[in-house]
């Protein structure tokens, strides 16, 4: 398919790897963060890190929406799912995220009506087909997913679907990045920016990284050549002493984002004062809830939700993985007590979680290395 195949060309990949090698200063260690879980997945899937010089290190960022959902929030979802007459809908990955007392999948096994959907529109369809039941959609995701939820809520209102509501756990990417930059235990030299979040919000929201923290950002696509090209662009900025936001992913990311998407989001959502992130704690203005104009579609206002804060399991080091402080395999329970089949931490659940991506693809390369 156009726009896909040409960005997986092996010849060009090798040429880019050569260019990257020529750009690094020997003796200097480079630490770049790929913000987004989609990049983490591509890096391990295509073995991008094998093409990099030893002194270029990629650190995984907090951009996996499943991984950042705290246990208390999962418990709230399960409490809603158990209410009589409720059909609880959510994306597939969210089903397996452990709460303090089992996952949504366990709740389903115990009799709750929990259904997996591919999009919020599917949840609305279920609501229309079951007018005598209350259908709740558990909305998670960054700015890439939020417009889809917003459009669905607008549609629900326009079509007068009164048995549909949304438990909104959407988050925004900029506040956790700022929190990471303020974190003393992490030193980064540059960022690979989240390409698809940027199709919605544009490149401008990332300008604070060079302006306030003096680090380059290159917004990148998700094919292997995109990621290699972005790394080369960051290295060029560092070599030339420049520091700015650059856009490698011009084939889909306009500088100003998708204005129509931003408009629907502004209409339907408002910022929460605080939102809890797994491993990162409470971050101000980092989560979205439904605006007062859409209050009647807000599941948290329609039903009573416990809203109890639950500490992460002691053995789990997802927080440090999300902050890029440790690598997945450095976690005490990685691949032993915590596997994709029986995850303890959220990073092992989603295919874009750093631990699951590493477990599925990267560990084989590491085994070769260690042997």
């Amino acid at each position: 398919m156009r726009f896909v195949d040409e960005f997986r060309d092996a010849e060009l990949g090798r040429a880019l790897a050569g260019e990257i090698l020529s750009l690094v200063e020997p003796g200097r260690h480079y630490k770049f963060m790929e913000v987004c879980g989609g990049h983490t997945h591509s890096i391990y899937k295509y073995g991008v890190d094998d093409l990099l010089p030893a002194n270029v290190e990629l650190v995984h960022g907090p951009g996996c929406p499943v991984c950042v959902i705290p246990m208390g929030r999962v418990d709230d979802g399960i409490a809603l799912a158990r209410q009589p007459g409720v059909i609880f809908t959510c994306f597939g990955d969210m089903l397996r995220v452990p709460g303090s007392n089992g996952s949504l999948l366990d709740a389903k096994a115990a009799g709750a009506d929990v259904r997996m959907v591919y999009s919020p529109l599917d949840a609305l369809r279920i609501a229309k087909a079951n007018p005598d039941r209350e259908v709740v959609f558990f909305a998670i995701g960054f700015e890439t997913t939020a417009p889809s939820t917003a459009l669905t809520l607008k549609r629900a209102r326009a079509e007068g679907v009164s048995n549909f509501s949304c438990m909104c756990s959407h988050v925004t990417i900029v506040p956790p990045l700022r929190a990471l930059m303020e974190s003393p235990d992490l030193r980064l030299d540059g960022f690979i920016g989240p390409g698809h979040v940027c199709t919605v919000v544009g490149a401008r929201p990332f300008e604070f990284i060079p302006a306030d923290y003096g680090r380059p950002v290159v917004i990148a696509g998700f094919e292997p050549l995109d990621i290699l090209q972005a790394i080369a662009m960051i290295l060029k900025q560092l070599r030339d002493g420049r520091c700015e936001v650059e856009n490698e992913y011009t084939r889909v990311v306009p500088w100003e984002g998708n204005l129509r998407a931003l408009e629907v989001m502004a209409e339907v959502f408002e910022l929460r004062a605080h939102f809890e992130w797994r491993g990162l704690g409470f971050i101000s203005h980092s989560g979205l809830r439904l605006s007062d104009a859409y209050a009647e579609l807000d599941a948290e206002r329609r039903f009573s939700v416990p809203g109890v804060r639950v500490a992460d399991p002691k053995a789990c080091q997802c927080g440090e993985v999300l902050k890029g402080v440790i690598k997945p395999w450095e976690c005490k329970v990685f691949g032993t007590a915590c596997t994709p089949e029986r995850p303890i931490g959220t990073c092992m659940v989603s295919s874009e979680g750093a631990c699951a991506a590493y477990y599925n693809f990267g560990r084989f390369a590491r085994e070769r290395e260690v042997v």
Binding site: C36, G37, I140, L151, R251
Partner: protein, 82 residues
């Protein structure tokens, strides 16, 4: 894709549907203007109805970036701008 077991979720989720950030390129086959939907086909050959309110107007042959059933960008737009 059958999501009956955890292993299948993992294997089936080549691109995670909750994708933090990843969207999927799909080509527009047919338009349903009245419902603001388009029938699209992905690189894996799978077809799906896609919400196009955020990127309309689109035409058959356009390549859309689709995330959670909603098109968030037209890949062909940049080409057209050039």
């Amino acid at each position: 894709v059958n999501y009956a077991s955890a292993a299948e979720v993992r294997c089936g989720a080549e691109h995670c549907i909750t994708c933090s950030d990843e969207a999927v390129a799909m080509e527009v086959l047919e338009l349903d203007g009245e419902r603001e939907l388009a029938l699209c086909q992905g690189e894996d050959g799978l077809r799906a109805s896609v919400e196009i309110a955020l990127v309309a107007p689109v035409a058959p042959g356009d390549v859309l970036l689709v995330h959670a059933g909603t098109a968030i960008a037209i890949a062909t737009a940049a080409e057209a701008r050039r």
